[in-house]
Symmetry: C2
Subunit: 329 residues, 2 copies
């Protein structure tokens, strides 16, 4: 019996649709080697938050969608989650992560070889679902452009590893690609498939971008403030891998000399030095300032949602977004 993240217990209608998405995804993934299939199924069933499909579903409700398009919208929502899962599997190769959502990763269990091809397989399922969701080549093109931007974002982030001159603008560009792009796509695609008016579709895209930016900023803050148990994934990994995110970038921009001696250790930062780095970030108010930056995008997203036409779905959208963007795990 598949379950969704407890977050959805408060929203039973969305929860039911999200379960349909998960069942559809599992139906599409058949791998001869049943052990590999089992690991992938476990990832799908691991109660991720399913934010991208949820936003697609919620934005689709704003329009004049008819009951016979329900299946197509489920397929579209499922497709966004599958692309997300593919990037998670490939990210885990790169990060050499052993756990994800509390379970062993594909690469840790079956080797990076299997992880590369399994991620690719999910990308093919992503387009398979998309082609079931729409007859519109425009929407396929929009998706290929989004996927391209996600990967450009990942590659750009790599150009900045161990770069202590990285700026807030570099960071913003990178997260707009690697994270916000998929939220943008989900919200836009939902409004498009729900046949909203063009200006609502465009506003949905912009709301998605703000949510995505805020979401990644909060994620990057949590990496410095939470325990691995609470997040169900390792913490403080990014900095050792040379990925400098919002709190640290704010620190570097305001007092580089304070952080350089620690960052010069590169991947050899010890646990004790990581603790010193976190203390230093607090000393320089970096966590607090990062929260203020994230809050700007949260407030912008909420104000835009508030400006949407009145609709029962709008209240869910507002309360969900508010809950998400004050999350602690």
């Amino acid at each position: 019996m598949i379950k969704t993240h407890p977050l959805w217990d408060t929203y039973p209608t969305i929860q039911a649709s999200l379960l349909e998405c998960l069942e559809l995804i599992i139906e599409k993934i058949t791998i001869e080697n049943k052990e590999i299939e089992q690991t992938v199924t476990a990832l799908i069933e691991s109660q991720g938050k399913l934010l991208r499909p949820a936003y697609l579903l919620l934005f689709s409700q704003l329009g004049s969608v008819s009951i016979d398009t329900h299946k197509k919208i489920i397929a579209a929502a499922a497709s966004t989650e599958v692309l997300h899962l593919a990037t998670l599997i490939h990210d885990d190769i790169i990060d050499e992560s052993d756990t994800r959502r509390g379970s062993e990763t594909v690469q840790s269990k079956h080797g990076q070889d299997v992880a590369v091809y399994t991620g690719d397989l999910l990308i093919s399922v992503y387009f398979e679902l998309l082609a079931e969701a729409t007859d519109s080549i425009d929407l396929i093109q929009l998706n290929t452009q989004s996927m391209k931007r996600v990967l450009m974002g990942e590659l750009n982030q790599m150009s900045h590893v161990y770069n202590t001159d990285i700026t807030y603008t570099d960071y913003l560009e990178s997260i707009k690609g690697k994270t916000a792009q998929l939220f943008e796509l989900s919200c836009y695609e939902g409004a498009y498939l729900g046949q909203s008016d063009p200006e609502i579709i465009e506003l949905s895209r912009s709301i998605g971008q703000d949510i995505g930016i805020a979401f990644q900023m909060l994620d990057d803050i949590l990496d410095y403030t939470q325990t691995p148990e609470k997040l169900s994934k390792p913490v403080l990994n990014d900095v050792k891998q040379g990925i400098y995110t919002l709190p640290l970038i704010l620190g570097l921009e305001s007092s580089k000399e304070a952080f350089l001696p620690l960052l010069e250790k590169g991947e050899d930062l010890s646990d004790k030095e990581l603790d010193s780095l976190v203390t230093l970030l607090h000393d320089h108010d970096c966590i607090e300032r990062a929260h203020i930056t994230a809050k700007h995008y949260i407030d912008k997203a909420l104000a835009s949602i508030d400006s949407l036409p009145d609709h029962s779905g709008k209240d869910v959208l507002y309360s969900l977004t508010k809950t998400l963007l004050t999350r602690e795990d």
Copy 2:
């Protein structure tokens, strides 16, 4: 100035179209980090044989294609090469290969991280080109199914690593997926876009499958018979990685006890032991028998091409296929 493989010097019309494909691919790939972009461009320009786009172009000529669909067919042909390049980049991560077509691989030059995302980026470009080539969601679906089968083929091959009980049937299933599928797709898609009659489109698919099977069998034979210089890639790598291909499978099926003592060394096979293995394969006529098996598919493909309606493109198709399937590099 981009050049194509010398193979195409004899076929100037196809050569011109293939150059258009390469230019289109390069145009689609923009990476902020210019060193990475340069490595990808070098791979694109490295004079691979461009067989998949060439077959797509040749089969498109059998139909009643008009001049204004030329650009679309170029985009479709380019898309098949881009998917092939994506799989090459991901294969090189798995094989830990340092060279490909005589140049350093993406993973060897920039690390496996960059190779994972660059391969993914090419998959997005694959669908981007495809969406430029067609308005037909059916064709998008066909491509997603093909890509899925290619990856199932790769994953199935992995289920058989170091499996000395692997049979000819397992092998055939695996190469039908990982190699023949893309040839099948190219020939089918060419005939489809060229608006051939349904029975010609179906025959094209079957010709593509036979060509793909024969091509992979010959590739696997060359791995045991050629020098790395001649092939511009390492040889005898597969067996150390536990990938047992046609010549060795024929050996295992006819006299397992002769091969087992060497294969038990797994990845620790020394160069001397590899030489002994090759000698053993010759002693058991495995290379010759593999050639006979491949020839069955070559003859089948050529006979089917011969049965196509008369057309100037048909002669090119026949002579090209004959040349390819008697290749030594």
